[in-house]
């Protein structure tokens, strides 16, 4: 239990997948500034991460590693990750169709997300057990959702600001804001790491 809590705290606070590893930064910058939309996207990405780990971890541990087939990893994992993203989108569309339509989220935004694929590949290298791997995916998803919500607020402020230099408007300002957020987070994560250890 204690290990699971430590893994989740690490994934959310110390090794945050967006702010400490830069995985999934594209979707943070591309999505429009709205808290509801960010939360929905974060939720979907969390489910996709868990789904992808559920498929890929046993495949890796019980088939690829014992038979020395690690070079098949990319070829098998990428379609499975896309399948997980597709399934999550299909289920969410069925469950909350009108809400999902109004979000404008497409399945490609979830499947072609570096964060989802990254967590499936990271999980295989860390020597986790099955449950630890799933909780690691959950923690990474929560970290992604948190970063997304914080960044939606920053984006809202940036969009309203009218004294930004012309060349920096839009994407350059978003990336700069992400740089500052990431800098804040690195300082914070060192304090959190000291606290956990």
């Amino acid at each position: 239990m204690k290990e699971i809590i430590i893994i989740m705290m690490t994934m959310v606070l110390v090794d945050n997948i967006v702010l400490a590893k830069a995985l999934g930064a594209c979707s943070l910058i591309k999505l429009p500034a709205s808290a509801g939309r960010s939360a929905a996207m974060g939720l979907a990405v969390t489910f996709a991460m868990i789904g992808a780990t559920l498929f890929t971890w046993p495949l890796d541990r019980y088939w690829l590693v014992p038979f020395d087939l690690e070079y098949f990893r990319i070829f098998l994992f990428i379609p499975l990750i896309f399948l997980a993203g597709y399934l999550v989108t299909a289920v969410l569309k069925k469950a909350a169709h009108s809400y999902w339509e109004s979000m404008g989220c497409t399945s490609s935004l979830i499947s072609a997300n570096c964060a989802v694929a990254g967590i499936a590949f990271i999980n295989t290298d860390q020597g986790f057990t099955y449950f630890e791997a799933v909780y690691c995916a959950l923690g990474a998803g929560l970290g992604f959702t948190g970063a997304m919500l914080i960044f939606a607020g920053m984006k809202y402020k940036i969009d309203k600001a009218n004294n930004i230099p012309e060349a920096f408007r839009g994407i350059p300002a978003y990336i700069m804001a992400l740089a500052i957020l990431s800098m804040v987070f690195i300082g914070f994560s060192q304090a959190a790491a000291a606290l956990i250890s």
């Binding site: 400490a20 830069a22 930064a25 594209c26 990428i78 997300n113 590949f121 060349a167 994407i171 350059p172």
Partner: protein
């Protein structure tokens, strides 16, 4: 002529990283040394070219329903091949780049140009489009790798840049430093693009005025 123009457009006015904000994750996370930026850029270029060629040649055979799935399988297969080649040719750099080599397969640039462009266009424009997008990505990665490594570590491709063992700004190697540099480059390219479009507009206006005067 059209092919050539779309190639240059992809590098400057429609640069995949700086203007379309695709593939920011690898562009920031990998470029702490020039070698790894170059390796990942070359890998993405190769995957882009090699996977859009079969897709564009087989677009009449692959049915519409199975298009997305078969494209993903093609991309995944080619990424595996590239990863195997790179890990046997450049084992140390590949180790350094780590999970970002498999992540080429989910790179927005690759997915978009294979699913969107290669599916609907003949072979030659697809190749030029892929070459342009890949080169745009490669140039940004190499530029960021060179700047960050020389400022942050004081070396360039592993060799020291400065006479003494000194570093200017170790912050540049960290993740926030990468985001800062990317933001500055994006602003620069936006400024250049605005200047170019303004110049074109001025030239067009002058042309119209001249015509009016002459008439």
């Amino acid at each position: 002529m059209i092919d050539h123009r779309s190639f240059t457009k992809k590098i400057l006015t429609e640069n995949p990283v700086l203007v379309m904000a695709a593939g920011i994750c690898p562009a920031v996370a990998v470029t702490d040394s020039a070698y790894s930026g170059l390796l990942l850029g070359c890998g993405t270029l190769l995957v882009l070219l090699l996977s859009s060629l079969p897709v564009t040649l087989m677009k009449s055979i692959i049915p519409e329903k199975a298009a997305c799935a078969s494209h993903i399988i093609i991309i995944a297969a080619i990424t595996s091949v590239i990863q195997m080649l790179f890990s046997s040719w450049f084992p140390y750099v590949t180790e350094e780049v780590g999970i970002f080599i498999p992540l080429i397969a989910v790179n927005c640039i690759v997915i978009e140009s294979v699913n969107g462009f290669a599916r609907n266009n003949p072979a030659l424009p697809t190749l030029f489009n892929g070459l342009g997008a890949g080169m745009g990505f490669l140039i940004i990665l190499l530029l960021m790798g060179i700047i960050r490594e020389s400022i942050g570590k004081g070396t360039l491709f592993g060799d020291p840049v400065f006479a003494e063992d000194m570093t200017l700004l170790p912050f540049a190697v960290l993740l926030p430093g990468g985001f800062f540099l990317l933001s500055l480059l994006a602003a620069l390219i936006k400024h250049i693009n605005r200047m170019i479009s303004q110049k074109q507009k001025n030239a067009k206006n002058n042309h119209i005025e001249e015509e009016e005067i002459s008439s």
